[in-house]
Symmetry: C2
Subunit: 328 residues, 2 copies
Amino acid sequence: MSIRIGILGYGNLGKGVESAVCQNPDMELTAIFTRRNPETLRVRTKDVKVLHIDALEQMREELDVLILCGGSATDLPEQTPKYASMYNVVDSFDTHANIPAHFAAVDAQAKKGGKVGIISCGWDPGMFSLNRLYANAILPDGHDYTFWGKGVSQGHSDAIRRIPGVKDARQYTIPVPEAVEAVRNGLNPELSTRQKHTRECFVVAEAGADRNVIENEIKTMPNYFADYDTTVHFITEEEMAKEHGGLPHGGCVIRTGKTGMEREHSHVIEYQLTLDSNPEFTGAVITAYARAAFRMNQEGQTGCKTVFDVAPAYLSAKSGEELRGHLL
Amino acid sequence: MSIRIGILGYGNLGKGVESAVCQNPDMELTAIFTRRNPETLRVRTKDVKVLHIDALEQMREELDVLILCGGSATDLPEQTPKYASMYNVVDSFDTHANIPAHFAAVDAQAKKGGKVGIISCGWDPGMFSLNRLYANAILPDGHDYTFWGKGVSQGHSDAIRRIPGVKDARQYTIPVPEAVEAVRNGLNPELSTRQKHTRECFVVAEAGADRNVIENEIKTMPNYFADYDTTVHFITEEEMAKEHGGLPHGGCVIRTGKTGMEREHSHVIEYQLTLDSNPEFTGAVITAYARAAFRMNQEGQTGCKTVFDVAPAYLSAKSGEELRGHLL
């Protein structure tokens, strides 16, 4: 019997989850839920139901896992606890500072409902977090580094779009190659914000806008750009559509550490992602954790979990025997 | 209270575990067990007991986890099941084809004794296996590649040493850079054995030995060298001691895969290790899994486990709150 999946929210991430569910033969997409008028949604999976979010009040018998594809700012803090009392849920909550509060809220509701809620799945938080944990457990005497990119930062692109005279914008975060190289070589550099990443911006200006003013506004924007070496390119709408339509991303987590009675040996552990589509890869990770949520709940577990609490075997559709035979 | 660790076997791996236990403040090394005369062992940890293996019959109250540091050929198939009935145990059993039988034997004894036995910990099997599993679960539509090296292969070095006229030898396994590059670029190449790795051998010949004969014996040796491009260098004993005294190793696991309703997006997941000391890194991994074995058993779990069955949080000395706050 397939694992019956519901998706709440049909933006980039919801679409990424949709395509991931298609690739997993042990799952079926039962319904997509939206706050919009369901009739306005054009979904790509054939014959899937599209329902208003209110329908979730009566779907408990029809879904095994509800995947929450809203934003971390306002959607998930409300939705994940609420639906964890009714469904096994998975989300990609990524506001690091608020994870403890979100965990507590989801834990209380999931326990009340006898369900499992797995929060903060994706690649960071998610696969990057896992790699930080494994590497720290193996090499307690060491240093952690995380580099992001080259990839599109949606938050930074949005910040540029809010500047008067800007019609469209895309911002790429790029690791400084010399910094990554120094870390890989075990030099344990102390790196400032500016030394770790650069920011490259592609901007479509409105006709008549002063490009120097826009460029200055970007480069001096506190938090977003002021602490970085930032490059600004003005391009046409056609160039934007043709060359910057995708949402690539990636990055790496590196831990360097020492072993030996005299700390005489050095080691480097590196985990690296190169992603054509950030939302589709994130969706693929969440979908694997949806399988885990279902199986853990079937075994009687309840409450809030993170990637740290999920034994890897739960993520795979293969049996323990198959995994030991082919992947160990 | 510290986790009380025993080590059985004091070769390279036992010494690697010893130095790893020193680095983990929540553990203490209670005793080292050996089949040799304990008085002949010079151990590096101050004031640690050195006992004959027979003493393990009466140490159940004094150890929380016994780490088995013997070889996969003859030691572990006998020792791991035997001691799993008395202790929580961890081993690095690495004969891939025999893992199912080893698992079954350890599982039966561990369940009988109410203990946890974690087998096949290290980096391959171990961390590489984990990364194959995670990457397969995330990208079901994709290709797996594993490259080993650059590093010393002990088995291949031993095979050279058995050739008449060879006094000492060290063999390095080296990934073919073009093959790794093609995989990273998502080309999904079909690679023969010869196209994936080369083998470089450093040999000290006995006085008067025919070097051409030795070189030919190496290069034509079935299974070990015949299927590879192999280079042989003859060096002096001094050069061997000075330049080839270490046991470095490493490698990478890469999975490339597609997502999207039209398979239109490509992704690359790579996990890479660069290790100065293979036995110390392997020892560090096993030691982290010793912590997991102890904690899982404290929660009432029993039986045989692999890295696939161990939730990552069990590996860390930190609490769930600390992990969520700092590493997620």
